[in-house]
């Protein structure tokens, strides 16, 4: 069988040729999340974004783990694989290594990616496997009806933690950065335009993508992010990152982030403080310190950053695998199976 090694076209130009629409990416399955769930919006933005990549839909694969997020592949009219708890990155890694021309998305949740599947996320990211991992973070176990997750805030009362959880939460983006992901971003389920833009950038990145989507579970953890994501307050309480731009936020764009030593601080522009004093976002910085700092900022001490924290280039796992095979063949010639079988000392019995 053929085993193409060059990835399929991935470009807006190609998208104009292929001409798919959002509808082409909706499967015939009835969507079954709770009414009001943030997942509906993520699904919609995902379907809307897919035509932009110029990839034929037979070359797109959605692989998910277990949890509410895990159902998403059923609703995408692409190839889909709803795997087992925490292991989606492993199947995605095998598939991408086997078939580099495919565009592989991994759909996961905070429990799936950071608890049971933490090890796999770490290694898929550091190996720079060319997969686009989208983690729905609702800070709760929804499908199992409301237990604390690795991102639940300290002290949170849930069914499994009636006196409050005693576990310190992890920051998903800090984890992704420490794991050497080459593209790290955050968006919000209800901020549809921003989410669509983030997914689009994620899709065009070659290498390991980690996107955290702040997602509301209206049944078991309603309003988890309301304090800063609601329309009335979001501009004052969130920081939209833009590469090469100073970190400014606020309805009146009058606040910013300044560095004092190694620590960020919120400053009011004016009274001698100008844009010149603010940190300029650099998603392409070779060292991850700025991105790591952003991954630690959280309301109410800071505005919550959304957008692309880190976006660097490194050879991908699948490409390195292909290159290594090609280099060995160039160096030693294509393998001769008969010679291999008869290698070492042989003797003939007549």
């Amino acid at each position: 069988m053929t085993n193409p090694t060059t990835p399929a076209p991935l470009s807006p130009e190609n998208a104009a040729v292929i001409k798919l629409t959002r509808k082409d990416f909706a499967s015939d399955q009835e969507v079954r999340w709770c009414p009001g769930c943030g997942d509906y919006s993520i699904l919609a933005q995902t379907q809307k974004t897919m035509p932009e990549f110029g990839v034929p839909k037979e070359n797109i694969v959605f692989i998910s783990g277990i949890g509410c997020s895990g159902r998403l592949p059923y609703y995408m009219n692409t190839y889909g694989f709803h795997t087992i708890h925490g292991r989606a990155p492993t199947l995605a890694t095998g598939l991408k290594a086997a078939r580099p021309e495919l565009m592989v998305w991994v759909i996961t949740g905070d429990g799936d990616a950071l608890s049971i599947g933490g090890n796999h996320v770490l290694h898929a990211m550091r190996k720079n496997v060319d997969i686009k991992l989208i983690m729905f973070n609702n800070r709760i176990y929804g499908l199992t009806k409301g237990q604390a997750s690795p991102t639940s805030e300290f002290g949170k009362v849930t069914k499994s933690t009636p006196a409050g959880t005693i576990d310190h939460p992890v920051s998903p983006l800090s984890v992704a950065l420490a794991a050497e992901a080459t593209f790290v971003a955050r968006s919000v389920d209800t901020h549809t335009e921003h989410l669509q833009g983030t997914l689009e950038r994620a899709g065009f990145h070659r290498g390991s993508v980690f996107v955290e989507v702040l997602q509301n579970c209206n049944i078991f953890n309603d309003g988890a992010y309301r304090e800063f994501t609601d329309r009335e307050v979001r501009e004052d309480r969130m920081l939209v990152l833009e590469h090469g731009q100073p970190m400014i936020f606020g309805k009146d764009r009058d606040k910013g982030i300044r560095l004092r030593g190694l620590h960020p601080e919120v400053v009011q522009l004016g009274h001698g403080i100008t844009e010149e004093d603010l940190v300029v976002h650099d998603e392409k910085a070779e060292d991850p310190y700025l991105a790591f700092m952003l991954s630690r900022m959280w309301w109410p001490e800071f505005p919550v950053p959304v957008g692309v924290l880190r976006n660097i280039e490194r050879p991908t796992h699948d490409q390195l695998m292909v290159d290594q095979i090609a280099a060995e063949i160039a160096r030693r010639g294509a393998g001769d199976l008969e010679a291999l079988l008869a290698s070492g000392d042989t003797w003939v019995v007549k």
Partner: protein
């Protein structure tokens, strides 16, 4: 027995049918290497060979200690042999610990060659000897050759720029050279090997060559040996042969299977003894397009193999028992999604970490049943190192044709043991290619082949076949998620029937010995050699006995029940506490009895022979 004189020293040559040598020393003494070099040389000469490497899990256990003893037993013969021998004829002991750990296996009258230099008070104490066995008369049952190997070897290496420690590391080649002389072997293959191995370190190469030649010369010139021995080439079926271990044959079997399936091989594995050599070997096959992947853990290796199979490659993973336990949930995903992957389990002594370098057959029931729900899958098991090639090919063939995960059960004894392998003619092997689904008009993810019940293989990238699969129960035909009670019942039966039908696609169970009669000895896996040898002996004694060896553990060959019923008694020896026994009794309602030993070692022929005699005598 003939006597000729071909040597300058006119020493008599004694012709032997079979000789078994055990090299034993510290795990840092290079005993495995020594054994392997002797094996190659004997194999190239045309002897039938069978080996049993037996080494500790510690890379360097404390020097001179009993836990640090490493051994390599090789049996070579002018006739067809099946085992590395119950007992050595010659024991080479490089230190007191090696002597103590192995002397119990040497029969009275056996030859014992010891490195007398190593019998220092410190080493004797480390081995727990209160008196020196070379001096206290405790070895008088044996023919003892005390040779100051360390001193003689150091003398031979004088003038080379080497540390004492480096010099000491070559003394195994002195012992090897001595054995080459004693058994009339050419040093050439080993000298060649040294030149290749140490091409970039000429001093080390020179040292090892000098050590080897010094050992050989010592045999030739000294008067302590009064004879030397000849084992003529064996009469094996015609063909070109090479020496091969089970792990090597396994890797080659899957590589050839991928060629014959016309699909690239993808191997995902996590390092684990004694399966890691398969990872090493397949990682070296890049010029054959093999994609090898060292995963972050056992589960990831299984997941990646499934991902590759989903993508249309020949997906393979390899592990040992503890790893199989970790993979079980993901194996079930392959059962549910009906994707073809092969899981290699090189069994080792368990439970838990157990004894990682020691052999056992403890994973049979885990392979069959160690997963949640009704989870049928085919299980195959090679019987000898060379047969690992055939069964690896078979495992891949069954996986692809029947769209199912397959477990391939090897073990530590097969993996590291070696025997001559007749190199197969590639053209004579059948194609095992299966088509991908391509037609959107007729495609249904869970429609089935009427003969095998295999579902179509629709790989991503195929236009018009976009579909979703996963671990949730599938609706028959469409593959959509289904909680329908009747559908689940039907799908459970379909999965079972699909695997049961593999029985139509495998060879019948053969017997060796009487066609019907008193006793059938039934086995599986690496016990083949001991069982076959015991039955050969019993037949020669005129007993009504036969041997049958299962390569297919699930499903069993269709005639298994018929074979069992042709004998009055059935004995099932296993290196576990009766796992095949339980399956056979449950499935065929035959009052079979077991014989179980779990010592981390292969069976001895004599113990099987003895148990069979007892049964035949009505005990």
């Amino acid at each position: 027995m003939t006597t000729t004189s071909t040597r300058p020293h006119e020493l008599p040559v004694q012709e032997l049918e079979r000789v078994t040598i055990r090299f034993a020393g510290d795990s840092g003494d290079g005993m495995q290497l020594t054994g392997m070099q002797f094996t190659r040389t004997a194999a190239v000469f045309g002897n039938d060979v069978s080996t049993f490497p037996d080494y500790p899990a510690e890379i360097r256990a404390p020097a001179g200690s009993l836990p640090g003893v490493s051994g390599f037993q090789i049996s070579f013969s002018s006739t067809d042999i099946h085992t590395p021998g119950d007992q050595p004829d010659v024991l080479v002991a490089m230190n007191p610990a090696a002597l103590k750990a192995n002397i119990g296996d040497l029969p009275a009258g056996g030859a014992l060659i010891v490195n007398s230099d190593a019998f220092t008070p410190t080493n004797l104490a480390k081995a727990g000897y209160e008196t020196n066995p070379l001096a206290d008369g405790s070895l008088k049952a044996y023919t003892v050759f005390e040779i100051p190997i360390t001193t003689l070897n150091a003398r031979a290496l004088e003038g080379l720029e080497m540390t004492n420690k480096q010099i000491d590391l070559t003394k195994n080649f002195f012992a090897l050279g001595l054995m080459f002389w004693l058994y009339e072997r050419s040093m050439e293959p080993t000298l060649r090997w040294i030149d290749e191995k140490f091409a970039k370190r000429p001093v080390i190469a020179e040292a090892n060559k000098r050590a080897l030649k010094a050992g050989y010369a010592f045999g030739e010139t000294t008067e302590i040996f009064h004879t030397h021995y000849r084992v003529a080439p064996a009469h094996l079926p015609p063909g070109t042969y090479r020496n091969i271990t089970g792990n090597e044959a396994t890797a080659l079997g899957f590589l050839v299977a991928s060629k014959k399936a016309d699909r690239p091989l993808f191997y995902a594995s996590y390092p684990i003894t004694p399966a890691s050599d398969i990872l090493h070997q397949l990682s070296g096959y890049k010029t054959f397009g093999v994609k090898s992947f060292q995963a972050e853990d056992e589960i990831a290796a299984m997941g990646a193999a499934i991902g590759a199979a989903y993508g249309g490659l020949l997906g393979l993973t390899g592990t040992s028992g503890p790893g199989l336990a970790l993979k079980s949930e993901a194996i079930n995903l392959a059962v549910m999604t009906e994707l073809p992957v092969v899981i290699v389990d090189v069994q080792r002594a368990g439970p838990s970490t157990g004894m990682p370098t020691k052999t056992e057959q403890g994973d049979l029931l885990q392979a069959l049943f160690g997963r949640n729900g009704e989870s049928p899958l085919p299980v195959v098991a090679p019987a000898t190192p060379a047969e690992c090639f055939d069964l690896a090919f078979e495992a891949a063939r069954i996986a692809l044709r029947h769209m199912t995960p397959v477990i391939y059960l090897s073990d530590a004894f097969l993996a590291t043991g070696a025997e001559p392998w007749r190199i197969p003619d590639l053209d004579s092997l059948p194609s095992i290619a299966v088509p991908n689904a391509t037609d959107p008009a007729t495609f249904q993810p869970y429609a089935r082949d009427p003969e095998t019940l295999a579902r179509p293989w629709a790989v991503p990238g195929t236009p018009g076949l976009e579909h979703r699969i996963g671990g949730l129960e599938k609706a028959d035909i469409t593959g959509n998620v289904s909680y329908d009670p009747e559908n689940h019942h039907r799908m459970t039966l379909l999965r079972a029937e699909k695997v049961a039908r593999v029985a139509n696609d495998i060879p019948a169970l053969e017997t060796y010995g009487v066609d019907e009669g008193e006793l059938l000895i039934l086995g599986w896996g690496s016990t083949y050699g001991a069982l076959r040898s015991a039955v050969e002996r019993l037949l020669a004694e005129g007993q009504s006995v036969a041997h049958a060896h299962l390569r297919y553990l699930n499903p069993f060959p269709a005639n298994t029940g018929d074979v069992l019923r042709r004998y009055r008694r059935v004995l099932i020896p296993e290196l576990n506490l009766g796992q095949l026994l339980m399956l056979i009794r449950a499935r065929y309602l035959v009052d079979a009895e077991g014989y179980h030993r779990v010592r981390g070692k292969p069976f001895r022929i004599s113990e099987i022979h003895e148990r069979a005699e007892q049964i035949l005598a009505g005990r």
